[in-house]
Amino acid sequence: MLSLKIAWRFLQKSRVQSAFIIAGIAVGIAVQIFVGSLITSLQDSLVQQTIGSTSQVTITALSEGDSFKVDERVLAVVRNDARVKSGAVAPTLSVNGLYSNGNESTPLTLKGGDLKSLDALSSISGRLTAGTARLNRGDILVGKDFADKYALSPGTKIQLTFPGNKERTLTISGVFDLGSSQVNARQAFVSAEVPRALLGWRSDEYAALETQLVAPFDSAAVATDWRARLKDLRIVEWQEQNKDLLTALQSQGSSSYMIQAFVLIAVALGIASTLAISAVQKTRQIGILKAMGMNDAAAGRIFLWQATILGVGGTLSGLALGFFLLFGFSFAGASFSITPKPGFVAFSAGIGIVVALLSSIIPIRKTSALDPIEVIQGG
């Protein structure tokens, strides 16, 4: 405890120096937390945007466009897999149509299914900007961008043209915003009967069985398992289809690790040099203390305590500053919000303290090795 008292007094005596190094650690830890959380949240948000409201593992017929029977055999494989998000299983059919208002036309992909299972995948009901979530035979739910472009609102009847010059008139029951303007402009939802009648399929035939997983990055493993059990069907998973995105995310992730690593190295060098300078400045005092009978271990502990005080003080200030930055960022109007993960924050704080302790090794060694006679003889 005497070592702690002396450490504290040494730091107090050189207040400005101590304040600078605490500020240095604080900035380092704050940057670490801010950049780390920013990147993970950005990545989560990108992944969420990509797959949050679409199928993550999809079962289709072997050749594209064909139908397949969604029977007990297929459903058992999917429903008995604990990795599938509960209820997030939707048999769907799709048909491409064209909407035209006379001078302009837009292709629309109509996905047919029952509202409950479509909701489990895309939570359409929760993302309506107008109208009601209803998918009866004559209803259609359209995206915000599409509705805005043609000034359409719930209740409006729209006429769509399908391959083979078939036409259907449907009533807009609601307008959704799924977070992606591409989806909002091109995608529409209808009841299963609409595409089924257009395609002439039987009632247990579907184009796809769409699923979402508890952990989206399990998709490759899940797909491999299902392929082994459903050899007559095609299993597609999102990671395969989004290789470019994932590569981009990965390189973004590693550049973020690089930034964090360099920041931490800078912090470590800062603490190490401050403590080394402090050890030199206090050589006389350490020599006197040793001459009075303080042993090497206790003398070394003075600098261990200094490092601990600086490390803990700097890290706590860094946490405060980091959260302050994140709080400030929430007003910056970004399209996503940053949620710092407790584990990552604890990890960053731990690193701050460990780095501080490691950088005290050299001064501790120096102090332990100091022979009091050098100081006493030097006057």
């Binding site: 005497l2 008292k5 002396i6 007094r9 040494f10 107090q12 005596k13 006389r284 005092q285 006197i288 203390l289 040793k290 001459a291 009075m292 009978g293 303080m294 042993n295 090497d296 271990a297 206790a298 009091p372 006679i373 006493i376 003889q377 006057g379």
Partner: protein, 236 residues
């Protein structure tokens, strides 16, 4: 006859190696009893500080032994030596060597804290010791806010804090004027009488040495004279 406190036998000290080496001490042997009040005199470079550092366990002899209360300290490890430095000896140097980060009281308390002695009792003892040296009232001043004479008295109080069996002083009054010098020696005497501490004081000032009970003279690293001195305190 008082008990033997310290026995130095055949102390040799060589600094450095080869052509540049200095033979600072050659075969110094003597015995010091408990409570003795002795001085070491000699010219500059004769080896006085070297001898004091060996006796104070700050340095180790090239040859010879230092025995305290029958214990050969050459056989002790570094931690045991540190412990002995803390409990057995007190140091007063030419330069005060106070810790500027701490108050007067804290400086005086430091040896007790290092020795892990009970804080409350130590505090009382520290205040008592400061009183003994006429420093009452300065307890909370910073160590760097004192006059030269005050600093040296604080250093003496600190050296006496653990009530050592031996107080080693290396030119303790080298930086003080005659009035202060006079005062310090009077204090040494007084404290010696009250605490039973033995004193070994290095000085190059013969007049100062004359005020001690025993004078050891070192010349070119050898102990050339060891005389009893009948000191009579000046009439008050």
């Amino acid at each position: 006859m008082a008990d033997v406190l310290l026995e130095a036998t055949g102390l040799d000290k060589v600094y450095g190696e080869g052509d540049t080496s200095t033979h600072a001490l050659r075969g110094v042997s003597f015995t010091l009893n408990e409570g003795e009040f002795a001085s070491i005199v000699g010219q500059s470079g004769s080896g006085k500080s070297t001898l004091l550092n060996l006796l104070g366990l700050l340095d180790t002899p090239t040859a010879g032994t230092v025995v305290y209360h029958g214990q050969d300290v050459g056989k002790l490890g570094k931690p045991a030596l540190a412990k002995l430095r803390n409990s057995l000896v007190g140091f007063v140097f030419q330069f005060h060597h106070l810790l500027p980060e701490f108050s007067v009281l804290e400086n005086v308390l430091m040896p007790a804290l290092i020795g892990g002695r009970p804080p409350m009792e130590s505090r009382k003892l520290a205040e008592e010791t400061l009183g003994l040296l006429g420093l009452t009232g300065l307890e909370d001043k910073g160590a760097d806010q004192l006059s030269g004479g005050q600093k040296q008295r604080v250093a003496i109080a600190r050296a006496l804090m653990n009530r050592p069996a031996l107080l080693l002083a290396d030119e303790p009054t080298g930086n003080l004027d005659t009035v202060n010098t006079e005062q310090v020696y009077k204090l040494f005497r007084q404290v010696g009488a009250e605490t039973g501490t033995a004193f070994l004081i290095v000085t190059h000032d013969r007049a100062v040495a004359q005020q001690t009970d025993r004078i050891l003279e070192v010349r070119d690293g050898e102990l050339v004279q060891d005389v009893r001195n009948s000191y009579l305190p000046p009439a008050q």
